[in-house]
């Protein structure tokens, strides 16, 4: 799909892990516009997480051009990450982890504050706002290690929202959440997309997706095998059907 004025633009991207004998992503071209809601699907090992980490510059790009939020990912990954939220997959913390919820959320702004500078009033206000958005201000002073998996997931999402991202990359955001939490997070995602934030989500849970057109990108073996828009209720079926699409289709 072609998008005018994309917020994420990948052209012929190849990404390989050090020591690997073949690229993890091969010849990926993808443009995503402002305020789009994109679901990335595909089997395990298809390269979904690698794609997210290529977009935010955490993985080295061996070939191709990647421009995110107007910045070249290859030369300026750190600055890209200050404007892009990324919720990593399956994180849980040890009960003795010595950080409270508000400290963890504040960390979301450390990159944008910069070296040798202390957080200011604006940073603490952003933390307060993110805690309220997720409805977790009541646990702000609790150690993160003593929370349930779902609560920890919400804290990490708040950490990403605290830096007011232009793009939000979410890797399996519903993995630790119960039904009620999933509904509230989906409502929040709809609100974020409505306000112009681009949301790219890797997930296997497609219930209660925001009621708006969803763009589905299906990956197989490091390549994009399908890229189309559909109704939220059809996402699961579209991804399942794409499972039978051969690699070079």
């Amino acid at each position: 799909m072609t998008v005018s004025d994309p917020v994420i633009r990948l052209e012929n991207i190849y990404t390989a892990y050090e020591g690997a004998d073949r690229p993890t992503l091969a010849d990926i071209s993808l443009s995503i516009g402002k305020g789009e809601f994109v679901v990335i699907g595909g089997p395990n090992g298809a390269g979904k997480t690698t794609l997210l980490e290529t977009i935010n510059g955490m993985l080295p790009i061996t070939h191709g051009t990647a421009v995110v939020c107007g910045q070249n990912v290859r030369g300026d990954g750190v600055h890209v990450r200050c404007r892009v939220g990324y919720l990593l997959q399956n994180f849980t913390f040890d009960p003795l982890t010595p950080f409270t919820v508000e400290e963890v959320v504040l960390m979301g702004r450390f990159g944008m504050i910069g070296l040798f500078r202390k957080p200011g009033r604006e940073d603490y206000e952003a933390v307060e706002k993110a805690l309220q958005l997720l409805g977790i201000q009541n646990i702000a002073t609790r150690p993160i290690g003593q929370l349930s998996g779902g609560q920890q997931q919400k804290v990490l999402l708040a950490q990403n929202l605290a830096r007011n991202p232009e793009v939000l990359l979410l890797d399996e955001p519903f993995s630790n959440l119960d039904m009620f939490a999933r509904e509230s997070i989906n409502a929040l995602l709809a609100q974020l997309v409505g306000s112009g934030i681009t949301v790219v989500i890797v997930s296997h849970a497609f219930d209660d997706l925001p009621d708006r057109p969803v763009r589905v990108v299906v990956m197989h073996d490091g390549k994009i095998s399908l890229d189309r828009e559909c109704h939220p209720a059809e996402v699961g079926q579209v991804i399942r059907n794409a499972g039978s699409v051969p690699r070079d289709a």
Binding site: G19, N56, V78, P98, L115, Q159
Partner: protein
């Protein structure tokens, strides 16, 4: 800074030997405990352990070659810290195996040179590297220790934000835009400096106790990282100064005695820790 001695505690302790020993233990314990919080929380204890032994090997080589043992210890410690990553990548082994290899090489080099020096009749100074020696320190060595404890404090204060991010989780720190690699390597460099400067006092075999135990004690009571950075050095300084005073009073080996005290306090802390108490509130 040759010949410069600040004599910070001479107004409290009249005996110069005891004063030097207490000052050395105080500064070494503060520096080790502060960096120990980082080492234990970033979970790079095995890196700290390997660096300590590499510094030990470097000091043994320096002594053998009759060059400044502290300088060779720093070089060896830093070299090992920077070799771990490339070695595990190039040799296609896990970082854990790379650390095991470097630890083995360090110990082999250290033992070879210490044993060889003993056959040459230079065994006494080499033994000091193994078990530490608080009595025969030069005044400028104490000044260097004072400086390195200040460096450790300033390092943590200036880069507190980045350090906490890395301690929380390196990948999350990277994902929020923290420049993880330079800060991480700066951490390793400061650890190597501290280890090398503390080696003559505490000894290569015991320095690990100073790096790990105070932080482990603090973790039993602290829910916040900021409190750990205060509690660990206070605990370390109290135990180290007590160990130095008791050891010198009763003619006992100071560093091993203090290491035993650390272990006793740690066991006590585990039993007293509020983190292991179960409280049931009736609403």
């Amino acid at each position: 800074m040759p010949g410069v001695y600040l004599g910070m505690l001479e107004f409290l302790i009249g005996n110069t030997i005891i004063c030097h020993a207490v000052e050395a233990m105080l500064f070494a314990s503060i520096a080790c405990a502060i960096l120990g919080v980082i080492i234990t929380q970033v979970q790079i204890s095995s890196i700290g352990f390997t660096m300590a032994h590499a510094a030990f090997a470097g000091a043994a080589v320096g002594m053998f070659l009759s060059v400044n043992a502290t300088v060779t210890a720093i070089i060896a410690g830093v070299l090992v810290a920077f070799l771990i990553g490339p070695l595990s990548d190039k040799a296609r082994v896990s970082p854990d195996t790379a650390l095991g290899l470097l630890f083995g090489i360090s110990m082999a080099v250290a033992i070879f040179f210490i044993a060889y020096m003993q056959t040459l009749g230079r065994g006494f100074s080499a033994m000091g590297l193994l078990f530490g020696d608080v009595i025969s320190l030069y005044s400028e060595e104490i000044t260097y220790l004072a400086l390195i404890s200040v460096v450790a404090v300033v390092f943590v204060v200036v880069l507190y934000k980045e350090i906490t991010g890395i301690i929380f989780n390196r990948r999350i720190a990277e994902s929020v835009g923290i420049r993880v690699k330079p800060v991480y390597y700066a951490m390793l460099f400061v650890i190597a400096l501290v280890v090398a400067l503390c080696l003559p006092i505490i000894g290569g075999l015991l320095i690990y106790v100073w790096l790990v135990t105070p932080a482990a004690i603090a973790l039993q009571f602290c829910y916040r990282l900021s409190s750990m950075f205060v509690v660990a050095p206070v605990v370390a300084a109290t135990i180290s100064v007590s160990g130095a005073l008791a050891g010198l009073e009763y003619s006992l080996p100071v560093a091993p005695l203090t290491a035993v005290l650390f272990s006793i306090v740690f066991i006590g802390a585990v039993f007293l820790s509020p983190k292991r108490r179960v409280t049931i509130r009736k609403s």
